[in-house]
Amino acid sequence: MKAARKSEKPIRRGLTEALDLPADVLLDEPTVSVEGKRRLTVDNHKGVEEFDGEKLTVKTSIGALRVSGSSLVLEDLGCGSLLLTGTIRSIEWM
């Protein structure tokens, strides 16, 4: 799952699309991967804004990502990537 604002960085975006490069390399955009309903990975994030057992808000270069669910656990929080487990109910960009 990838998201981006089309108006920004037109040259880099064009290059990325022409060369089929991953968006996080040139555009500094986050990569969000979801495995089923129980595992979510966010790469290239800018920090955790809010976290409790039912919601997580992550800052990224293109806005905040909010994940809602239950029994959420931040299994790993390293530089630039995080791993969330639990029962994921919704993912939204804000």
């Binding site: 955790v48 804004e49 809010e50 976290f51 057992g53 656990v73 931040l74 790993d76």
Partner: protein, 385 residues
């Protein structure tokens, strides 16, 4: 899993963070390069997380900045386990001593098992092993394993082969005893004639010796048929006689009335099958039972690709049939006769055959008795005295 093992080896502390925004402290930790994992919410304003001991020390300086309080709730991992053992040195030394003892003792033979001794005394083999320097407690490394069996044979009597294997701390000696050749009797050695199997005497003509049985009499294996001791003067001679006996052999066989015969019904399906790197995918079959003819249409596309495309023709088949009564009995009779005749020696002559049948719920049991006429006599030397 591997990550958890790594954290367990490095050791970690589970901390509880309390404050108005405990995630701020976690975020500050991340920004300062402190790895944090297993972050869980314990309620409003309370989080638990796992950090390394070094990370925890660094975290304490960030407390005030985040306006949070931090306390350790659990210490886990190898470094803490070792630190706990440091307070109990005897427990540690006990564990080390037990491991060392286990290592040292596992390098020795602690049990010797001898198998295959029927007539030979096991003690003889154990004594031969002792003479070769192998006893309970001998270091395994000190045993010259190669050729030990041959050296043991030289030290023992009546053994044809000895195999020695070591399984852990157990020495297993397998013994094969010598089989003495049958005693050759010359024509002049006094001997009786004995029966070789259970039979009924059909005919007996004695040339020398005294008959001990009559025609029609049933004899058991080893029973004397003609004695080599003459009654009037007690002289011992080599008994000679032509003796034919009737012997009965039994064979039993069961044949089920249901048989499986596969016949094509005429319905055909054509399908495509693709095999890539050992994994195969094919169109689902329309029939439950079918046999297949396969033609490879493309193998690797002319390159070194691990891919094969095949065309399958599937023929629907039908099975099961019920045997007729006559066929059932014929098959059962033939099978039981075959089992009975398999026991008969080549020089025997079949005199009569009789088959009886038992009907069961799903088939027939046939019992065939084959009567033969054969030589049942063998010379046996007369015991001394």
């Amino acid at each position: 899993m591997a990550l958890s093992l790594w954290y367990s080896l490095r050791g970690y502390v589970k901390i509880q963070v309390k404050g108005s925004a405990p995630i701020r402290l976690i975020e500050l930790a991340r920004e300062n390069g402190i790895p944090v994992r297993g972050i869980q919410s314990e309620g409003p304003g309370v989080l638990t997380a796992c950090v390394t001991p070094k990370g925890f020390c660094m975290l304490r300086s960030l407390n005030r900045k985040a306006k949070c309080s931090v306390r350790i709730v659990q210490k886990s991992g190898l470094p803490f386990l070792l630190a706990g053992l440091r307070a109990r040195p005897m427990l540690l030394w006990g564990g080390v001593a037990a491991l060392a003892a286990l290592y040292l003792l596992s390098g020795r033979i602690w049990r010797i098992d001898v198998s295959g001794c029927l007539h030979t005394d096991e003690a003889q083999v154990i004594e031969a092993l002792r003479q070769e320097g192998v006893t309970e407690g001998t270091p395994i490394r000190a045993i010259d394993h190669s050729g030990l069996g041959n050296r043991l044979i030289l030290r023992t009597k009546g053994l044809a082969w000895i195999g020695v294997t070591i399984e852990g701390t157990r020495l297993l000696v397998e013994v094969v005893e010598e089989t003495p050749p049958p005693e050759a009797l010359d024509d002049e050695t006094p001997a009786d004639i004995v029966a070789t199997k259970k039979a009924m005497i059909a005919s007996i003509f004695v040339y020398e010796g005294v008959a001990q049985v009559k025609e029609g009499q049933t004899v058991q294996p080893g029973q004397v048929l003609v004695s080599g001791i003459l009654p009037h003067d007690g002289r011992r001679v080599r008994a000679r006689a032509d003796i034919a006996g009737r012997v009965w052999y039994t064979g039993k066989a069961y044949v089920s009335e249901k048989t499986f015969e596969f016949v094509r019904t005429g319905r055909v399906q054509e399908a495509l099958a693709i095999e890539i790197a050992g994994m195969e995918a094919a169109e689902p079959a329309d029939f439950e039972l079918y046999d297949t003819e396969r033609t490879v249409t493309c193998d690797g596309f002319g390159f070194f690709l691990p891919m094969t495309v095949s065309r399958e023709i599937r023929y629907e088949i039908r099975s099961t049939a019920v045997r007729r009564e006559e066929e059932l009995m014929r098959l059962a009779r033939e099978a039981s006769f075959h089992k009975a005749t398999a026991q008969i020696p080549t020089d025997a002559r079949i005199v009569a055959t009789e088959t009886t049948y038992q009907r069961t719920e799903n088939g027939v049991i046939a019992i065939t008795v084959v009567e033969t006429s054969e030589n049942i006599a063998a010379a046996s030397p007369i015991p001394a005295g």
